[in-house]
């Protein structure tokens, strides 16, 4: 049986939106993941260090306040430098400033090295579904047995 998959979770940059992350933590934990919740105002280095220390399977970035684009540049490169170049990278929230075509936004972030990009107001369950798919875990029962 698998060990629980580990996620490093945080709100990047100077962003203090603290509500969504509390709920993501709850939802991912409920879904059987082990969540390392770094809270708000997390720097790229903090994400990477936490991922290395805990040997995490994914870094899940939340960004609400609009500076996501500036805050996330180079994150994938830094992961590569740190030797976790293959780690799964997610981002979601209100990740750019203003109402923009999501296709364009998604493209920009995929090019920046994220594996999946989620639009405003994404249901945490969507995140759970993709995490399970990408990390190849079965459903709730399987994991909770682990």
């Amino acid at each position: 049986m698998d060990r629980k998959k580990k996620l490093v979770l945080g709100v990047i940059g100077a962003d203090v939106h603290a509500v969504g992350i509390r709920i993501l933590d709850f939802a991912f934990t409920q879904a059987g993941f082990e969540v390392i919740n770094l809270g708000v105002m997390v720097s790229q280095d903090e994400f990477i260090n936490a991922a290395i220390e805990t040997n995490a399977d994914a870094i899940v970035v939340s960004s609400l306040y609009g500076h996501g684009e500036l805050d996330c540049r180079g994150l994938r490169d830094k992961c590569v430098e740190a030797g976790i170049g293959d780690i799964l990278l997610y981002i979601g929230g209100n990740i750019v400033v203003g109402k923009q075509h999501f296709e364009d936004v998604e493209k920009r972030f995929l090019e920046m090295g994220f594996d999946r990009v989620f639009p405003p107001g994404t249901d945490p369950e969507d995140g759970v579904r993709w995490l399970k798919e990408d990390l190849k875990v079965g459903d709730w029962e399987d994991i909770s047995d682990a």
Binding site: V16, M41, L70
Partner: protein, 489 residues
């Protein structure tokens, strides 16, 4: 509790001038634009400002007339875009007060990252910052904002250490400054200690006090909604009162206390009523009875629906609370709230929807002893009419109806039918309820007719005019022109 001890101001809590001035030098050196700040220059700039551009003046006038002012949030990184945005909100959004919302890097004193954001915005042609970086732009550029607009402009932010921001913005001519040592720390920061933010905001308030001493009143607004998410009124009220006292200790004399709509009408109206009452009470108790206290309601500050039509509903519901609770101003959300920093058109739409609600509800209040008496009146009136029709029908309702219309016992205003007497003329009373101006022949009791007459006379007296058909016409147009009661123009 040691009431007598606590209840008078402790002058030793005010920062003495000399250490303040020493600290000031350090504050101003944190970013190069600090060098542009000169207190005397600031005083002189404020002295030449038109009254119409002064926040405290406009707030006091609104308070005196129980009018609710509307104010958006708005800020973009580049000055020309920012002025264009505010001009649009002023002219097309019908805003009464304007903001300049500061970006998140500036709020964290990360001026270098803000500079980078300005440059990236210039390069990419997209706004890369979520607000206007006032520190980086500096005094001369900021003053273009004040000079380009007709309305007072406030700095809105979320900055734990806002000392430099305040210095620069005050000299730049902004006449109101949001925030406080609790409300701009706990919801906006992670690792900043309260000792530090309270001390930093005492600096801001002391600075405000220096302007005040120079005869220049700058409005300060403790940030009411905190995290905007299910904050019980007693929590945010406590913070608002404590920050008001802290500000007053440093010399602030013009304060707007706020609250974020929770969503239950009764709770929200009650909360706003209590907020102003208690703030004034505590201020007086501590010897600040001379301060001018106004109120602000924030439309729902939590998560919004994605759909714009539904977002309008949330916006309008907040506006209803603001109007019914008679707050001094309301901070307006936009139909794009859930999506991102709004376009200027969306921002103006939120304002106009709010304006309509505010003006439409201006004459109403929730004092719902009135509900029961209103029910009694309507019930009694309806009985008078229906019973009369049944009576003259002599066992045949259809016949009764026909006779009643002939006699004008039933009479429908503005009907096209020639079988309708058209003698009854309705008009609104002073609270906007529809009353009967001319009864025609409808068979109301003497008491009821007297009731209607008094209501109309009350309004006419208030409007200083005779009741006439013009009043009725004004009422016909009123809602489409944003009011409920058609006041004389």
């Amino acid at each position: 509790m040691p009431e007598s001890n606590a209840s008078k101001i402790q002058p030793e809590n005010q920062i003495p001038l000399e250490p303040f001035m020493i600290e000031r030098r350090e504050v101003l050196s944190a970013w190069k634009t600090g060098a542009e700040v000169d207190l005397e220059d600031g005083f002189a700039y404020h002295r030449q400002l038109e009254q119409s551009k002064k926040f405290p003046v406009k707030l006091s006038a609104a308070k005196a007339s129980s009018t609710t002012l509307i104010q958006p949030r708005a800020g973009v990184p580049l000055i020309s875009d920012h002025i264009k945005l505010l001009t649009y909100l002023q002219n097309e959004g019908e805003a009464d007060l304007l903001p300049t919302t500061i970006d998140s890097y500036t709020r964290q004193n990360r001026y270098r990252e803000a500079q980078n954001g300005i440059e990236e915005s210039l390069r990419s042609g997209r706004a890369m910052l979520n607000g206007y970086p006032a520190v980086n732009h500096g005094v001369e550029t900021n003053r273009q904002i004040i000079e380009s607009l007709d309305l007072p402009v406030q700095i809105r932010h979320g900055t734990p250490d806002a000392r430099l921001l305040a210095e620069i913005c005050y000299v730049s001519g902004f006449t109101s400054f949001e925030g406080g040592g609790i409300s701009y720390n706990i919801p906006y920061a992670k690792n900043v200690s309260l000792e530090k933010t309270i001390r930093d905001w005492q600096y801001v308030d002391r600075l405000t006090g220096l302007y005040q001493e120079a005869g220049i009143t700058i409005n300060r607004e403790p940030y009411g909604p905190l995290t905007g998410t299910l904050v019980p009124p007693c929590i945010s009220h406590s913070v608002a009162i404590l920050e008001s006292l802290l500000a007053a200790e440093q010399g602030v004399r013009n304060l707007t206390v706020g609250y974020g709509q929770c969503g239950n009408l009764i709770q929200d109206v009650a909360a706003m009523n209590v907020l102003s009452k208690l703030t004034e009470e505590y201020m007086a108790k501590f010897g600040f009875g001379d301060a001018d206290i106004t109120t602000v309601l924030h439309q729902w500050m939590g998560g919004f629906p994605q759909d714009e039509a539904k977002a309008y509903a949330v916006i309008c519901w907040g506006s209803a609370v603001a109007a019914l609770a008679k707050v001094t101003k309301v901070i307006v959300k936009t139909p794009q709230e859930a999506v991102g920093v709004p376009t200027m058109e969306a921002n103006a739409s939120g304002l106009r929807a709010t304006k309509q609600m505010i003006t439409m509800l201006h004459d109403q209040s929730i004092n719902t002893k009135s509900l029961d008496s209103e029910k009694e009146i309507i019930e009694a009136e309806t009985r008078c009419i229906v019973d009369k029709v049944i009576e003259i029908g002599e066992g045949n309702i259809a016949a009764g109806v026909v006779r009643a219309f002939q006699a004008g016992y039933l009479d429908i205003p503005f009907a096209p039918s020639k079988y309708n007497a058209g003698k009854l003329l309705p008009a609104r009373d002073n609270q906007g309820a529809v009353r009967i101006f001319h009864p025609g022949a409808i068979p109301l009791s003497k008491d009821l007719l007297e009731f209607h007459k008094e209501k109309i006379i009350e309004r006419a007296a208030f409007e200083k005019r005779q009741a006439s058909f013009q009043m009725v016409i004004d009422d016909v147009y009123a809602i489409s022109k944003g009011r409920l009661v058609g006041r004389p123009r």
